[in-house]
C-alpha cells in the first residue's frame, strides 16, 4: 500500500457541482482532490448525459467568474423569453427577460468537458478518474478514502458531489426523503424547422409538461432545441422505443406546429423524476452539494442551478475560513453553509412541486383555474418578479461567486 496523500478538500464526484466547487476552492488557495469513478472520455460523452441545462444568469455569471467564459460562450444559447402555456389554449404566461436576460441553455456534455479541462489545467486540483472506492472512513481529524488499487487519500473535509446516489451522504448517516412523481423525463435533442427566437417553451399537458429549450444552431445552421418531455412512468418505455419519425411527429403536434416540423437528432434517454431532500447538508468533516443533497422536478430547469448555488455558498464559507486559517472541516463553519442553503433548496423544491401538481390535474375545471391562475400571476407584479428572479437565480441572499464583480 502506498502512503496516504493529504489535501485540504476531497470531492467525490466530478459532475458540474463537484468540478465547479474544485475550481472555486482552488482560487481561495485550498488544495483540492476530485475523485470520480468514470473516465474523462465518458464524462464528456453526450451518451453519458444527453441533457441540456438552463443556466440561470447567476449560474452563468459564476461560470464566468471561474474563468470558463471563453470555453463556453460559443455554446451558450441565451434565453430571452419564457413562454408558459396550458396545453395549446390561449391565455398563457409570457415572461420577457428584460435587459439582463434569463440565463443560457447549454448541453451538459459540453459543460462537463469545459469544467474538466479547466480543473485539469489548475495546479491546485488533482483529478483521480476511473477510481473504484474500496473504503471510506471518518475520524475526529480527517476523512480517508481508499481505492481498490490501494491508493489512499485523506482530507480535512470530504464533499459528497456524487449525484443522486451518494455513498458520502450514507457515510455521514444523512437520510434522504424521497418522493417519486411516478413520471419520467424523456430527454433528446431536436432540430426545428422555424427559429425558436431564444424562447424557452413550457407546455403543460395533463400527462405532464413538455419543455422545448433553445440551443444554438447546428453546423448546418438549423435551429436546435433540447426536449424534456415528462410522461407517466408506465408510458415511458413506449415513448423511448418509438421511431424517430413517429416521436418527431408527436412532438410537432404537441408544440402546436409553431416551430414547424420537429426532427429528433440524438438518442432518447429517460430519467426518473423524484423529489429528494437530504435531512442535512453537513456532518462532521462532511458536506453535500448538488444532487447529493437535493433533487427537484426538472419542470423549471433549476436542479443544476441549485447545485451551483450550493457550490458558491460553500466556496464562500470555506474561503472565508481559509483566510482565517480555520480547519476546513470545522463544523461551526459548515453549519453556516447549511443554514444558508437549506431554506432556498426547500423553497425551490416546494415551488416546483406545486407547479407540477397544479398542471398535472386533468379536466376542464382545473384547466380554467390554471388559466385564471396564470393570468393572475401575470398581472401581479410581485409574483411575476419572484418567478423571473427565481428563473434567473437572483432571489435570496447571494454568495459573491454568483455576482458580477465591478
Amino acid at each position: 500500500m502506498t502512503e496516504t496523500q493529504h489535501s485540504d478538500i476531497l470531492i467525490m464526484g466530478a459532475g458540474p457541482a463537484g468540478l465547479a466547487l474544485a475550481l472555486a476552492l482552488a482560487r481561495s488557495g485550498m488544495s483540492v482532490r476530485v475523485v470520480d469513478r468514470i473516465s474523462p472520455e465518458r464524462l464528456a460523452d453526450p451518451e453519458f448525459d444527453g441533457r441540456a441545462s438552463a443556466l440561470a444568469s447567476t449560474s452563468w455569471q459564476m461560470l464566468q467568474n471561474l474563468g470558463l467564459a471563453d470555453a463556453l460562450w460559443r455554446d451558450a444559447c441565451p434565453i430571452d423569453r419564457i413562454a408558459v402555456s396550458d396545453g395549446l389554449r390561449k391565455g398563457g404566461l409570457d415572461f420577457d427577460a428584460g435587459v439582463d436576460g434569463m440565463g443560457v441553455m447549454m448541453p451538459n456534455s459540453l459543460l462537463r468537458a469545459a469544467l474538466f479541462e479547466a480543473a485539469s489545467a489548475d495546479a491546485d486540483i488533482d483529478l483521480v478518474m476511473g477510481a473504484d472506492v474500496a473504503a471510506r472512513t471518518i475520524d475526529a481529524h480527517r476523512a480517508t478514502i481508499t481505492l481498490d488499487d490501494g491508493r489512499a487519500f485523506s482530507a480535512s473535509l470530504l464533499v459528497g458531489a456524487e449525484g443522486r446516489v451518494s455513498p458520502t451522504r450514507d457515510l455521514a448517516g444523512i437520510t434522504l426523503g424521497r418522493w417519486s412523481y411516478h413520471q419520467r423525463g424523456i430527454v433528446t435533442a431536436v432540430t426545428l424547422e422555424k427559429p425558436h427566437k431564444n424562447t424557452a417553451f413550457e407546455i403543460f399537458y395533463p400527462d405532464g409538461p413538455v419543455a422545448i429549450l433553445p440551443l444554438n444552431d447546428d453546423d448546418d445552421g438549423r435551429p436546435m432545441a433540447s426536449i424534456v418531455w415528462t410522461v407517466p412512468e408506465g408510458k415511458a418505455d413506449a415513448w423511448v422505443s418509438l421511431s424517430d419519425r413517429a416521436f418527431g411527429a408527436a412532438l410537432t403536434k404537441m408544440s402546436g406546429g409553431f416551430l414547424g416540423a420537429i426532427t429528433p437528432v440524438a438518442p432518447r434517454s429517460n430519467w426518473p423524476l423524484t423529489l429528494c431532500q437530504a435531512s442535512a447538508m453537513v456532518a462532521p468533516r462532511i458536506a453535500l452539494v448538488g444532487d447529493s443533497a437535493h433533487i427537484i422536478h426538472p419542470i423549471a430547469g433549476q436542479g443544476l442551478n441549485l447545485g451551483l448555488r450550493d457550490v458558491a455558498a460553500l466556496a464562500q464559507v470555506l474561503g472565508e475560513g481559509a483566510r482565517l486559517g480555520l480547519d476546513p472541516g470545522d463544523l461551526a463553519q459548515l453549519k453556516r453553509y447549511q443554514d444558508w442553503r437549506m431554506l432556498d433548496n426547500a423553497m425551490m423544491a416546494a415551488a416546483t412541486d406545486v407547479l407540477n401538481r397544479l398542471y398535472g390535474l386533468p379536466g376542464s375545471a382545473p384547466s380554467l383555474v390554471r388559466r385564471l391562475g396564470m393570468q393572475i400571476v401575470g398581472r401581479t407584479g410581485l409574483i411575476r418578479r419572484f418567478i423571473i428572479d427565481e428563473a434567473r437565480g437572483a432571489s435570496g441572499d447571494l454568495p459573491d461567486l454568483l455576482m458580477a464583480s465591478d
Binding site: 480527517r142 480535512s156 482565517l324
Partner: protein, 256 residues
C-alpha cells in the same frame, strides 16, 4: 507537572523548568481543561465562538502590517510566529495554516500534550513547548500573539517585557484580554461561568487590566499600540468585533 521531553509524529514538544509569571494555580486550572479543549460543545464552547472573531482581527492586522503578503494565499509564509499561552492550539493551528513557522508556549503541560497530539493528527507541524515566555532567550518572532493570558499572570510588567524581547525588528504583536468593568464582571465572571459557557474558576476579575493600564505597561516596555478594538456580545450577532471595549478587547502593538 513533570518535566519530560517528547516528540510526536509531526509536532515537537519540549518541557523546561518554569520560572515565569504564570500563576501555578492558574496553569493547573487550565491544564485540567486540556482534554476538553478541542470539543466545540464542551467546556471551551465560548472559546470556539471567540476564535473566528479574534482570528478575523489578527488577519486584518497581518494584511495591514504586511500589505504585500496580505494578498498572498499564505500571508505568514516565511515568517516565524509565537503563540504565548497557546492552550491546546486553537489559535496556534490557524497561524500554521496561514503559512507561519509557529511555536506554541503554555504553562500547563497537559495543554502542550493535547496541542501536540491534535496538531500531529491534523498533519500540522508546530513547535510546542511547555515553558514560560520569560525564560525564552535568543529567539525572536515576526508575529507574537497572546490571547487571554495577561489577566492570568502575577506580574504583567515582567510578562510584557518578555513579549517585547521575543518580538523581531519590524514585527507585529496582537494581544487580547477582558476589560475590568462592571459589564465584564457580570458577563464573564458571573453569567458565563455560572451558565457553564466558561469553566468555573477561569477568571479572577481583580487581575483584569483596563486598556489604559495595558497601554501603560506596553509603553513602559517600549511598545506602541496602533489599534484597539472591542469584542462585544449581543443575542443577534453573538460575539463580534465592536467599538465597545467594555467586555473584552484586542490590541495591535508594534515597537514604539
Amino acid at each position: 507537572m513533570n518535566a519530560s521531553t517528547g516528540t510526536t509524529a509531526d509536532s515537537s514538544v519540549t518541557n523546561e523548568t518554569r520560572n515565569g509569571t504564570i500563576d501555578p494555580k492558574e496553569a493547573a486550572h487550565f491544564g485540567k481543561l486540556a482534554a476538553e479543549w478541542w470539543d466545540p460543545k464542551g467546556e471551551s464552547a465560548m472559546l470556539h465562538r471567540l476564535n473566528p472573531v479574534r482570528l478575523a482581527y489578527i488577519r486584518d492586522a497581518i494584511d495591514h502590517h504586511w500589505p504585500d503578503a496580505g494578498a498572498a494565499r499564505k500571508p505568514l509564509a516565511g515568517k516565524r510566529a509565537i503563540d504565548v499561552g497557546c492552550g491546546a492550539g486553537l489559535l496556534t493551528e490557524p497561524l500554521a495554516r496561514l503559512g507561519a513557522e509557529v511555536t506554541g508556549l503554555d504553562a500547563a503541560a497537559e495543554n502542550i500534550t493535547a496541542a501536540a497530539d491534535h496538531a500531529a493528527a491534523m498533519g500540522l507541524y508546530i513547535d510546542y513547548r511547555h515553558r514560560d515566555i520569560e525564560t525564552l532567550e535568543g529567539e525572536s518572532f515576526d508575529l507574537v500573539t497572546s490571547m487571554e493570558v495577561i489577566e492570568h499572570v502575577t506580574d504583567p510588567a515582567t510578562f510584557i517585557a518578555a513579549l517585547e524581547r521575543a518580538l523581531a525588528p519590524g514585527g507585529l504583536m496582537v494581544l487580547s484580554t477582558p476589560n475590568r468593568t462592571t459589564m465584564s464582571w457580570i458577563m464573564l465572571v458571573e453569567a458565563a461561568e455560572r451558565l457553564g459557557q466558561v469553566p468555573r474558576g477561569t477568571h479572577d476579575w481583580d487581575k483584569f487590566l483596563t486598556p489604559e493600564e495595558l497601554t501603560a505597561h506596553l509603553q513602559a516596555a517600549g511598545l506602541h499600540v496602533i489599534d484597539t478594538r472591542g469584542i462585544a456580545w449581543d443575542p443577534l450577532q453573538g460575539l463580534h468585533l465592536s467599538d465597545s471595549l467594555a467586555l473584552n478587547y484586542l490590541m495591535t502593538v508594534v515597537r514604539g
